[in-house]
Symmetry: C2
Subunit: 392 residues, 2 copies
């Protein structure tokens, strides 16, 4: 187990009807002039927008709106938001939506007090030193951005998707009402479940030894997602299943499961390049990649893959052939993704073999001095191409 320094300051306000407390919570956080940031307008159809507005108005907050956040949120809209916040002297940013809206809000939060271009933070050209407070009302459990210190933006010009990790961008609060997810289409529900599940596997598959507690906690989150996603798909208004998924999605990515270990994150890095090419849903791209990444790297630590297979999927352990057990676990994960409607090949998400070299080259390294991505097995571009071939 490695040393760590962990704190998650986000307040989680969870459950049915909690949005009625929204206005007063923003006031507790000294917000007076609020940017209401949202996406394509689904919140206007499902009643969330009205409920949010009602609570803000009741608390006598001044509200300014900026909608139109797309999946894989665009840098251009963040820049537009920064300008609006400065012009209107807005002091609190409220994201109502999923990870894209929240990530966009976080970009605006750090961009406003910065004299340079906000993209600097995403290409490691500068580090933020302060942020406007961001609160969220989550409508799509997936990215975990509601209690994470991460934001991912896409630069419209170059099809580059880049991330910022910084303690300053933890939301000050997030309201999680499972009923707000009843109207999610099946595909988005499944993509969300895949995304949060992979947030856990990225941390779980580590070369750090003696990490029993977090291993077990991680398996718990994965099992809960695997159990409840099919229930929510079959019965979209099942509050209890939606609640388990929603709380799992936050815990999957609030960094508790990172404590004391080195994560991998190569699948995320590769997937960001898939999404940047043609707006593949992040969870769908991950569902294609991860089982193939596993097949490519499992020999680095077969025992860890055996543990995963036995504990998460209840695979009957072949004690005399651990590789068989490990591979059965990987197959079980593939089957789970397929069972909830996730694609299993790159061709199914419109990625062609001719693009593999380009994706491999563009995939961002964690450490600019390194030629590889990921930690469980550091991947050179040629390894990425091999994984993409397995996934084609």
């Amino acid at each position: 187990m490695l040393n760590f320094d962990y704190k998650n300051p986000t307040r989680i306000v969870f459950g049915k009807g909690q949005v009625t407390n929204l206005g007063s919570i923003i006031k507790e956080n000294r917000g007076t002039r609020v940017l209401l940031h949202f996406g394509g307008g689904s919140i206007k159809k499902n009643g969330v927008y009205d409920a949010v507005k009602k609570s803000l108005v009741k608390a006598k907050l001044e509200v300014f709106e900026l909608g139109g956040v797309q999946p894989n949120p665009r840098l251009s809209l963040v820049r537009q938001g920064i300008k609006l916040v400065r012009d209107k002297k807005i002091d609190f940013i409220l994201a109502v939506g999923g990870g894209s809206v929240i990530d966009s809000a976080k970009g605006i939060g750090v961009g406003v007090p910065y004299s340079g271009d906000v993209w600097d933070f995403y290409i490691d050209k500068a580090k933020p030193s302060v942020s406007l407070p961001v609160g969220t009302v989550l409508t799509l459990p997936a990215a975990g951005s509601e209690s994470s210190f991460s934001s991912v933006l896409t630069n419209d010009d170059g099809h580059f998707k880049r991330f910022l990790d910084n303690d300053l961008i933890y939301p000050v609060f997030s309201i999680l009402d499972p009923a707000y997810t009843f109207s999610l289409p099946p595909y988005q529900t499944a993509c969300g479940a895949s995304d949060m599940l992979v947030h856990v596997t990225e941390r779980y598959f580590t070369r750090t030894q003696n990490v029993e507690l977090i291993d077990r906690l991680s398996e718990s989150v994965i099992k809960t997602i695997i159990h409840n996603a099919p229930i929510a798909l079959a019965d979209p208004k099942n509050y209890e299943a939606r609640a388990q998924i929603m709380w799992s999605g936050a815990i999957a990515h609030n960094n508790l499961l990172s404590t004391g270990r080195v994560g991998d994150w190569s699948s995320h890095m590769i997937e960001h390049e898939l999404s940047a090419i043609n707006d593949v849903a992040h969870g769908a791209g991950l569902a294609v990649l991860v089982p193939n990444w596993m097949k490519y790297v499992y020999k680095q630590d077969v025992k860890r893959f055996v543990q995963f297979a036995v504990r998460v999927f209840g695979v009957d352990n072949n004690f005399f052939n651990p590789e068989e057990t490990a591979l059965k676990g990987i197959a079980a994960l593939r089957n789970f993704f397929t069972s909830i409607g996730m694609p299993s090949t790159l061709s199914a998400i419109g990625i062609k073999e001719a693009q593999f070299q380009g994706i491999a080259k563009k995939t961002k390294k964690f450490d600019p001095k390194k030629e590889t991505v990921g930690n469980f097995q550091p991947l050179a571009p040629k390894d990425i191409v091999e994984i993409l071939k397995l996934a084609k």
Copy 2:
């Protein structure tokens, strides 16, 4: 699953050598004049005191000392600490020790800015509105006070042990160095493991339905404790086992495992009265009580006890006789406590049958309007006497 509002603001600084950062962390928290609060002096023997002092001196902090905290920390010393802090204009309280020292420090923290007697907060006569910041260097993983909002004090006069739960008393940081627990005697190590394990069972045994995620997380923590406590007992300087136990103890009581459910806490309430009588170690008292509490209440929800038996102890489920499975799980917990050297009877910890009525009467109710304690099965004084009889 119930609605909840959760935030844990305590920063956990975990691992070998982290105390070297202590002084600078206190300065980040604007401490300049520090009360160094500790217990009976074991920290002077095992090097912790010297390491702490070195870091404080290096950061040029002014240090005032108050040692002498006993197990089941006394109100009188808290009052003395409050006076010292006021006299010396101390602005930061540093607890170096286990739960007793931390609880005592929290009492001082809320007592200093209050014009009345600090005991008011523990007998529900008043609520704190502000606290001095408290930081901790943990040396005994058990009570979970290092990242909890609880403090338990004992009134010297009347043998009353009472608790305060309040968001204001989360420590601002806690340094958890597993190497600091190498010198713990076996009995304290085992009492600590028992205490933290029961912090989880008090939350786990709930009548709230649809709480799968937190059930699974709770089972993970319990399994980790059960696996690692015997390792630490056999090999006290096993860093990795000590680390798993230490992080488990914090997570067991940081309230993550309370989210969305109603806990029970009757065993804690009853045990507080045992400790108040003759300074029984809290973990030992709990190890005596909890299996007997379980035997008395399990019929309220046999399925939950079956889940506990199967998932935590791997009991072979008798699908046709769930009660048998449930009872095997309770017996397995009893065996675990016994295996790590915990007592199994009240007579072994010096509590006599003649005292049962008095203990039952004194046991604090959560709700003063109620005649019962606990939630899984609300216990009247006569029920408490029956549980004590099972435990005699």
